[in-house]
Symmetry: C2
């Protein structure tokens, strides 16, 4: 058995599974809130590992042999968390070494989206594809790739940050310090921004459905209000989701032009609304991938593993590398 | 011995070399103009192969065992040239099969920039680096990457078209049909455009040195006029080259954020002026790569093999794959 965990800015999610079993089923799973502070985060992770380990043993009679952890930022090949905007205060922490000491098990740490990509590659929508790209749309945009069926880690383990590909140098400011990063447009945060921009530029009236759903406060409009309004049939919200699909397709085409991916999988929380924007994005990718109809069409599909993708992938990476 | 050729829109360049010899020296080399028409191109290539083969035999007493060819566009894994904007009329041509028949030798065909990247990896500026990115700045921007010391070809052999990464969706039109592709700004063509824009927007006077060097005709200003003016100490030309360095750095940072390259090599004709813009581009990459000072600095260096990079790389790819 192996344990996998996905450390997010708000919650820590874990699973225990049998890496030799070809389904995606976790034997046991658990979830806790992410605390503040490096020591507190380490304690929470170690506590969840111990809990999952005990429950997996009760369920199967077998012991856990390794732990995988996905963390939201740059993780080097030694398993040290270098930097991530969503875990403020946690900088330069040797997660693999610290957790290895606390659990007495081999611990593998990698970027959370790299873990999610590996999960989708092994047990989800990219299964059987040697050159896959998985992007996760949440607060930002994460990414993970496989090359020849293996995870692409890059020179230092930092590969897969497509959210910070600048697609408009005069665009809105990004917390990373640049302007016009792709995740300003095509993430959950970006969806809310596009909706607010639509009202500010007069493309949607100030009393449109998605503003009403945010209590009439334009500044409070978020992606979820747009999705809810579109599901209720509102045209203004539908137009915002079309623009969202255009931006998603633009960035995916950029990445396909560089990587020549065989399949692109869209995961993360926003992918639950994939039916509202994925067709539009597919059309843009067809138009914008170099060579157009002279190259094989690249399928753009929704992820299959849902919120467990990162934890499942972390568990399977631990199985692969230990 | 192996023969390598680099098929460009205007010229066809070839070398014969010993793949077991660790220098970059070609034993013999040759160059002919690229003719128009598919049959004519095939004849020119076959003729140059026969010529190099004979001369290599005369020089070394040894025979040529394989041929590599770099072609400017999308080349699939079977060696068929699918599409390239700089070889109009040559579409869907099975180059490897046709040349194999004409020469009686095994023939490997790949994208020209992928070949140049492999040449720089094996014998040039990226030697010994497992995760390298080579970009070639000419009429457009080509690209080639290595992952774990091997060429990254992608799912269908089309990987490495960073020139068509859109970096401003409202930017100038690209012959590929999109707007604001990176090569509109950071190629040789882009350098000329940036100079003309500087005059049109009043950042440089209409009688500035680089316009005078183009015969006083703004529409005739090209990258070479800007480089010549900058070398003569002209400040307007220097400012245009700073902007060029900014755009180069922006795109390189985008690619480093996705690929986590260990080194980035800048080749192609424009790289002969690298001393005029590479420092500026380095500064932008440092500012724009995610994590900034928390990740190792990525060297951004000029290519070493000059105009032979593509032919040398094609020869070495043929040696690798046959």
């Amino acid at each position: 058995m192996v344990v996998g965990l996905d450390l997010g800015g708000t919650k820590l999610l874990g699973v225990a599974l049998d890496p030799g079993h070809q389904g995606s089923e976790a034997v046991v799973e658990g979830k806790v809130a992410t605390p503040t502070g490096t020591d507190e985060v380490l304690e929470a992770i170690a506590g969840l590992v111990a809990d999952l380990r005990q429950r997996a043993h009760e369920a199967t009679g077998r012991d856990v042999r390794a732990v995988g952890l996905g963390a939201p930022g740059l993780v080097d090949r030694a398993g040290t968390f270098r930097y991530g905007p969503n875990l403020p205060g946690v900088v330069g922490v040797p997660l693999a070494a610290e957790l290895g000491e606390r659990s007495g098990l081999p611990v593998v740490v990698d970027n959370d989206a790299t873990c999610a990509a590996w999960g989708e590659h092994e047990r989800g929508a990219a299964r059987g594809r040697n050159h896959s790209l998985v992007i996760t749309l949440g607060t930002g945009i994460g990414g993970g790739m496989t090359v020849k069926g293996e995870p692409l880690r890059g020179a230092y383990g930092f590969a897969g940050e497509p959210g910070h590909m600048v697609v408009d140098p005069t665009g809105p400011e990004c917390p990373c310090g640049r302007r016009g990063c792709w995740e300003r447009y095509a993430s959950g945060t970006g969806l809310g921004w596009l909706a607010r921009e639509a009202v500010r530029t007069g493309q949607a009236p100030s009393d449109t459905d998605f503003v009403a759903r945010a209590g009439g406060d334009l500044a409070a409009v978020r992606g979820e209000h747009v999705v809810a309004a579109a599901r209720a049939g509102d045209g203004d919200a539908g137009a915002v989701l079309d623009t969202f699909g255009d931006w998603l397709g633009l960035g995916v085409a950029n990445l396909v032009n560089v990587l020549d991916s065989e399949i692109v999988v869209v995961g993360g929380g926003v992918s639950e609304a994939a039916d509202l924007f994925l067709d539009r994005a597919r059309q843009r990718v067809r138009e914008m991938a170099l060579g157009g109809e002279r190259r094989p069409r690249v399928p753009l599909v929704a992820a299959k593993l849902g919120e467990q993708a990162g934890a499942v992938g972390a568990a399977l990476l631990a199985a692969l590398r230990t």
